[in-house]
């Protein structure tokens, strides 16, 4: 039943209480002497006997002090002051230890903040584990994922029972827009999506609103901005809502701004536009566009439906579609992948975990380093500890004292580490692969700080407590017997030191191996497939091509055809033989253009340049001529 007032009294009137105690003991002694004299002893004898009986005022004082409330706090304060003094007396040791800890904790904090931001934090959508991406796959050609057509996704959406809904996303190469205003032109990476996109993700805007159903139905020109774009271009002004921006000759009304954590399909997306407002939308819906590789879908599973069920269902649906559309859908499958797995694939995951393990190794090495420094230093402190033990300090008290010194070191190292991590995180992120997902959200937050704190505790336990236990055990054994100046360590200390050195070796080897693995997996991470397969040839079925001024030719080798967006060649790194690539000018309404391969050029125009020649495809409903380049 310690009352607060008593606790406060004990803390703040510590000296008073102490004086009181001494006085009390003194009065006891005096009374005892008087008592003994009264019993017939000489004064000298009485004094001696009384002193003997009391057994030393200091010892009694120590043992009484321990019962006072708040003694723990007092001791902590005392230990802190004493510890700080001890550490200041050996600055070489202290600075080394603090620097080592700063580096180790800093590295761990920084790497953990990346792991937390990329892997541990849930995606910023409602029920993110129910979100999946759906791609076309072509199993026969080992193409695991590829873009598909709007019509295909529409069929998926109509037939699925497992997904609540599917939203369409136009591939990024086809979603670039040009913004022209007084300050010049700027190419923007847009993301052209179906109207249900934001609702399906359950993503709320930071400002304003997202697409409404009516806007989607009517195909209105509205835009939702990314946080980055809003900051960069509009100075994070709230009055941006309701403004219009000129995009590709049309003007789009800004209706909302997304929070910084929203990066979909990836962090390059600067604004989101309605697919139904896009001038190409009617074309995308044409039957012959079923062969195009233009879209992927994001789907929300119904609650409780596993991905496996979705995969099975999509397999059945694609088989059905192959029967309905044998010309276009034969041999196609669907790849359903949980959104999180798509964003942070196994490569990213293993690389980050290995990085985490590596810095943890560094921390453990730092711990064992400091522990062995502490043990080495303890040789010099044996006498001090022995004296304190002889003066009545219990083993617990000594351990507490040594632990306090470790905590002081840790505190300094921990603070330094967090500061280092805070400063170093930016450079760490510039070292990271450019496509590291979700890197915008990485930072030192509460979770990361909590982790660092836990790390400090763990570290303190390892490097502080173990040596303290060992040393005090030895002191209790040898104590003051070792009166000489010889401070050669006993067998216990030698054993501990040996164990620490062995630990360091072992950890260093683990670290080395880990570093090797790390480099390997980072190389792999940087070399992640770039979205096309070396043998990629498009998936168009045979189509007949009619070349101007030529008889009808039919040659199966020539009939692979691909509808691509303008960035296609650049993306794949394909070089041009003659003429030009697609450009911004090649839009609907202008003459259709095509890039042909060498084989086709050679076949139809063996003696002549193919540039400027015209051909057309025999396709139902599509009769425009194109000129080749």
């Amino acid at each position: 039943m310690m009352t607060i007032s008593r606790l406060l009294r004990n803390i703040f009137f510590k000296d008073c209480i102490d004086r009181d105690l001494v006085e009390e003991l003194q009065s006891y002694l005096d009374l005892l002497i008087e008592h003994k004299i009264a019993a017939g002893m000489s004064e000298q004898e009485a004094r001696r006997a009384a002193r003997l009986e009391l057994g030393g005022i200091d010892q009694v004082r120590e043992s009484i002090r321990d019962v006072h409330a708040g003694i723990g706090l007092q001791q902590v304060w005392q230990d802190l002051r004493y510890g700080a003094k001890v550490l200041c007396r050996s600055p070489g040791f202290s600075i080394t230890a603090i620097l080592v800890l700063t580096l180790a904790i800093g590295a761990n904090t920084a790497v953990f903040s990346v792991i937390e931001g990329v892997l541990l934090r849930p995606l910023p959508y409602s029920a993110p584990d129910r979100l999946c991406l759906l791609w076309k796959s072509i199993p026969q050609r080992n193409i695991e994922w590829d873009w598909t057509s709007a019509l295909t996704i529409r069929d998926w959406r109509e037939q699925t029972e497992v997904f609540e809904d599917l939203a369409m996303i136009l591939r990024p190469e086809g979603s670039k827009v040009t913004m022209r205003d007084d300050s010049g032109t700027e190419k923007l990476q847009g993301s052209i999506v179906s109207g249900n996109f934001f609702d399906l993700l359950g993503a709320r805007p930071l400002l304003g609103r997202t697409f409404s159903r009516d806007e989607a139905r009517r195909g209105e020109n509205v835009a939702v901005l990314s946080y980055g774009f809003w900051q960069r271009r509009f100075g994070a002004s709230n009055s941006v809502l309701g403004k219009t921006i000129p995009l590709d000759g049309r003007s789009a009304l800004i209706i909302g701004v997304m929070p910084p954590s929203f990066e979909f399909p990836d962090k390059k997306a600067e604004l989101w536009l309605l697919l139904t407002a896009d001038p190409r939308w009617p074309t995308f819906q044409m039957q012959q566009f079923r062969i195009a590789d233009a879209f992927c879908a994001v789907g929300r599973l119904k609650p409780g439906k596993p991905v496996e069920q979705a995969r099975a269902e999509m397999k059945a649906i694609s088989a059905r579609l192959a029967q309905q559309h044998p010309a276009t859908d034969t041999g196609l499958g669907v790849r359903v992948i949980p959104l999180f797995d798509q964003i942070a694939g196994p490569q990213v995951r293993s690389a980050l975990w290995i990085l985490g393990a590596a810095v943890l190794c560094v921390l453990l090495i730092a711990c064992s380093n400091i522990a062995s420094l502490l043990v080495a230093r303890s040789a010099a402190r044996r006498r001090e500890l022995a004296v304190r033990a002889a003066l009545g300090a219990g083993r617990r008290r000594l351990i507490q004292q040594l632990a306090t010194e470790s905590i002081l070191l840790l505190l300094a190292g921990g603070i330094g580490g967090v500061v280092l991590a805070y400063g170093g995180l930016h450079s760490l992120l510039t070292l990271a692969p450019a496509d590291l997902p979700r890197s915008n959200g990485i930072g030192i937050n509460g979770i990361v700080l909590g982790f660092s704190f836990g790390l400090c505790l763990l570290t303190g336990l390892i490097f502080g407590l173990l040596p303290a236990l060992q040393i005090t055990r030895i002191e209790a054994q040898s104590g003051l017997h070792d009166r000489g100046r010889s401070s050669s360590p006993g067998p216990g200390v030698r054993r501990l030191r040996g164990a620490l050195v062995a630990t360091q070796y072992a950890l260093a080897i683990v670290l080395l191996t880990g570093a090797g693995l790390l480099i390997r997996s980072f190389l792999l991470l940087n070399a992640v497939e770039r979205g096309f397969d070396g043998s990629f040839r498009g998936n168009a079925p045979n189509q007949n091509i009619v070349v101007e001024c030529r008889p009808f030719a039919q040659d199966p080798t020539l009939h692979a055809r691909n509808i691509v967006s303008e960035g296609y060649f650049r993306l794949l790194g394909i070089r041009l033989r003659e003429g030009r690539l697609f450009s911004d000018e090649d839009v609907a309404g202008k003459p259709a253009v095509a890039v042909i391969n060498e084989k086709m050029a050679h076949h139809f125009w063996p003696s002549d340049s193919a540039l400027g020649k015209r051909f057309k495809q025999v396709l139902p409903g599509m009769d425009e001529g194109g000129w080749t380049q």
């Binding site: 039943m1 008593r6 009390e24 005096d30 009374l31 009986e53 009391l54 057994g55 009694v60 019962v67």
Partner: protein, 111 residues
């Protein structure tokens, strides 16, 4: 010393101290002598255990301490029972009776 035994002895000492103060407040030496007296010389409490116990009881609020004059006009610190301390005696006695009965029973049963 096993901690259970230490607790037992500590409890005994607490009880003896509280009992010795039932009639009147007393100082440390007085308490020690009174305990010796009421236990017929069995317990000779040394300052090394008496004072920690006194301070522990004061800390718990069962005793209150103030400076006063001893019988031969010396300054001494006097301890007196608080109301909580007085109440405590009953439960301590009950505790002790339970323990001693148990020990007695154990001795009778094994002998």
């Amino acid at each position: 010393m096993s901690s259970a035994r230490a607790e037992l002895l500590k409890g005994t000492l607490n009880l003896l101290i509280l009992r010795s103060l039932i009639l009147q407040p007393d100082h440390g030496l007085g308490i020690a002598r009174r305990i010796q007296q009421i236990t017929k010389g069995t317990f000779d409490v040394k300052p090394g255990s008496l004072f920690p116990a006194l301070h522990r009881l004061e800390e718990k609020g069962w005793l209150a301490a103030e400076w006063g004059q001893s019988e031969n006009n010396r300054r001494a610190k006097f301890y007196r029972l608080t109301r909580a301390g007085r109440k405590r005696i009953e439960s301590q006695v009950a505790d002790w009776e339970r323990v001693s009965a148990a020990i007695n029973w154990a001795i009778v049963a094994t002998s």
